[in-house]
């Protein structure tokens, strides 16, 4: 669960799409390709480190302003192109440190760039594109929300390097005025605070947690394994409602999101009674 530069996002993007994802315009961190998966064309998207980014605070696969706006453009053009035809699946390979933390970013409104890509994913989902997030590495805070949160289905590798969280442990400890040891202790009894992917999976948000041999180095075999899970997830996304309620209706949610379920039930009743 390190915060160091990894290249999992790029490697899995390349293995799945058979392309380096380079674009004529936009940041070097944004990889986009169209490829065949099973019987159909799909769009792949990923972020990867770009040491030459013109935004110095967005060089290790953060969601920055360019990533947000150019990513939005890419997704919106898929929606536009498929307006009257088959809705192509959009698969995002997620391994992104977090959102970019910088003065430049705030001045030009990184909250808008992040909102824009979230809206694009949500609109794609609502339009009937199967939106799949394949989490192979880090999806923390803004990178979880921007790249994975709106997916019909989130799939994660069952691996210690995979991290889905609101905030890295050292920062979370500092802000909540706890030591890392105290945080670890709390995580044992408070599942939503835990840092391991198995605990995250208990909350019912994931479609599937998959065990992949040597996740740092995709092989032909593991690539085929992952592709078959993606095909299955796409088919499921097409036959189930295009909202996010399956997360709340999951077995995990019944155990760990009882309060969410209660709010949903009571508010619906009270609203109808008014």
């Amino acid at each position: 669960m390190s915060t160091v530069l990894t290249s999992r996002g790029r490697k899995w993007f390349e293995a799945l799409s058979g392309s380096n994802g380079k674009q004529a315009e936009g940041p070097g961190s944004l990889l986009i390709a169209e490829a065949t998966l099973g019987q159909e064309k799909v769009a792949y998207i990923a972020l990867a480190p770009d040491p030459n980014s013109r935004f110095p605070r967005a060089r290790v696969a953060e969601v920055g302003v360019e990533e947000g706006w150019y990513g939005t453009k890419a997704i919106q053009s898929v929606i536009e192109a498929d307006k009257n035809g088959t809705k192509r699946p959009i698969i995002t390979v997620v391994d992104s440190k977090n959102q970019a933390y910088g003065r430049r970013e705030e001045l030009v409104g990184i909250h808008l760039a992040a909102a824009a890509i979230i809206a694009a994913y949500a609109e794609a989902r609502m339009a009937g594109h199967p939106v799949i997030a394949l989490i192979v590495g880090r999806a923390v805070s803004g990178s979880f929300l921007a790249l994975a949160g709106q997916a019909n289905h989130m799939i994660a590798f069952d691996d210690p390097e995979v991290l889905i969280h609101a905030m890295y442990k050292d920062a979370a400890a500092r802000i909540t005025r706890r030591t890392v040891a105290e945080l670890d202790k709390l995580s044992e009894k408070i599942v939503p605070m835990a840092y391991d992917i198995k605990s995250f999976n208990k909350l019912g948000g994931l479609y599937k947690l998959i065990d992949v041999a040597s996740p740092d180095e995709p092989s032909n075999e593991t690539t085929e394994q992952v592709k078959s899970v993606l095909i299955e997830a796409i088919a499921d996304a097409r036959r189930t409602p295009c909202d996010l309620y399956k997360r709340l209706e999951s077995e995990g949610a019944k155990n760990y999101r009882q309060a969410s379920i209660e709010v949903r039930k009571k508010m619906t009743e009270q609203w109808a009674a008014l």
Partner: protein
């Protein structure tokens, strides 16, 4: 007998003004709705509180820091959601976040049934509640999903007032909204200044330099650079009127979050080799901020 002091019209107006910032979340929701139409949903008597805070020795609150009220605005059906900045910094936990998502969801369903229900979100929020971390993240994603679904039917208006500001996950909700109303005191920013200073160093952002911070993300700067639609005084009546006027205007010509061509063009024109000030961006984006 002391002669009556001559007060300037400005001072008189200020003395008559009722502060919105000083109102708590419940009073804010009541303020934004037409008088006498406030009906709270899942109010404090329903006692649905955070199941996670007591496990950590933190006293929960019966409304979890979020007030949802149905009523009318300008005579039209409406729901107002107000986050209480004084409870856990307006942070988004499971219960309050789900209340917010459900308020949008129920308004959307009414819109789909032909009842054009309006939605206003009054924000003071530091972002996700770290004590409920990953459920908070999931709930925030669900809020966004419902916000994007609702705004296709009817404008969703975000009001940001108060000193807490609007950060993290809720800054993105503001980014997704149809319209943003801000006071000068308010801030709107994805990452709080302390976090940026911690991550990137004091030369990136000096979080103690208040004028500098407000120059980046304060209401006046956000309005001048097109990230907010209306800049208001801290006046409850003025804010209420601004909400009504935006609903009368209807859907925006283009949602901010759909303006990728414009923002890509703006970003391309900037020299990123140096640091900028708020003034640099105001000048660069002058005319055509919206």
């Amino acid at each position: 007998m002391t002669p009556a002091t001559e007060l300037s019209p400005e001072v008189l107006r200020m003395s008559e003004r009722r502060s919105y910032i000083e109102l708590n979340a419940r009073a804010r929701a009541a303020q934004l709705l037409d008088p006498g139409t406030f009906h709270e949903l899942l109010g404090p008597f329903d006692r649905v509180e955070s199941p996670w805070l007591p496990l950590q020795g933190i006293v929960p609150q019966f409304d979890d820091g979020c007030v949802v009220a149905k009523g009318t605005i300008d005579g039209k059906p409406a729901v107002v959601i107000a986050m209480e900045g004084k409870f856990q910094g307006g942070s988004i936990g499971e219960v309050c976040g789900m209340k917010l998502a459900m308020a949008f969801a129920l308004a959307r369903r009414d819109n789909e049934k032909g009842i054009p229900t309006r939605a206003v979100l009054s924000l003071e929020s530091g972002g996700v509640r770290l004590q409920e971390a990953n459920i908070g993240e999931l709930v925030i994603a669900e809020i966004y999903a419902e916000l994007v679904a609702l705004r296709q039917h009817i404008p969703v208006i975000v009001v940001i007032a108060g000193m807490t500001g609007c950060f993290g996950g809720m800054s993105l909700a503001a980014g997704l909204s149809s319209y943003v109303i801000m006071t000068r005191q308010a801030r709107l920013s994805m990452n709080g200044p302390e976090v940026i200073e911690q991550e990137a160093g004091i030369e990136e952002i000096d979080s103690k330099d208040k004028p500098f911070i407000w120059g980046i993300c304060g209401g006046a700067q956000r309005f001048a650079t097109g990230a907010a639609d209306v800049l208001v005084e801290d006046d409850a009546e003025e804010i209420t009127q601004a909400v009504k006027e935006l609903f009368r205007k209807g859907q925006p010509a283009r949602l901010r979050s759909a303006s990728y061509e414009q923002y890509i063009q703006r970003l391309s024109a900037l020299d990123t080799s140096k640091q900028w000030t708020g003034e640099d961006i105001r000048n660069a984006w002058k005319g055509g901020a919206k």
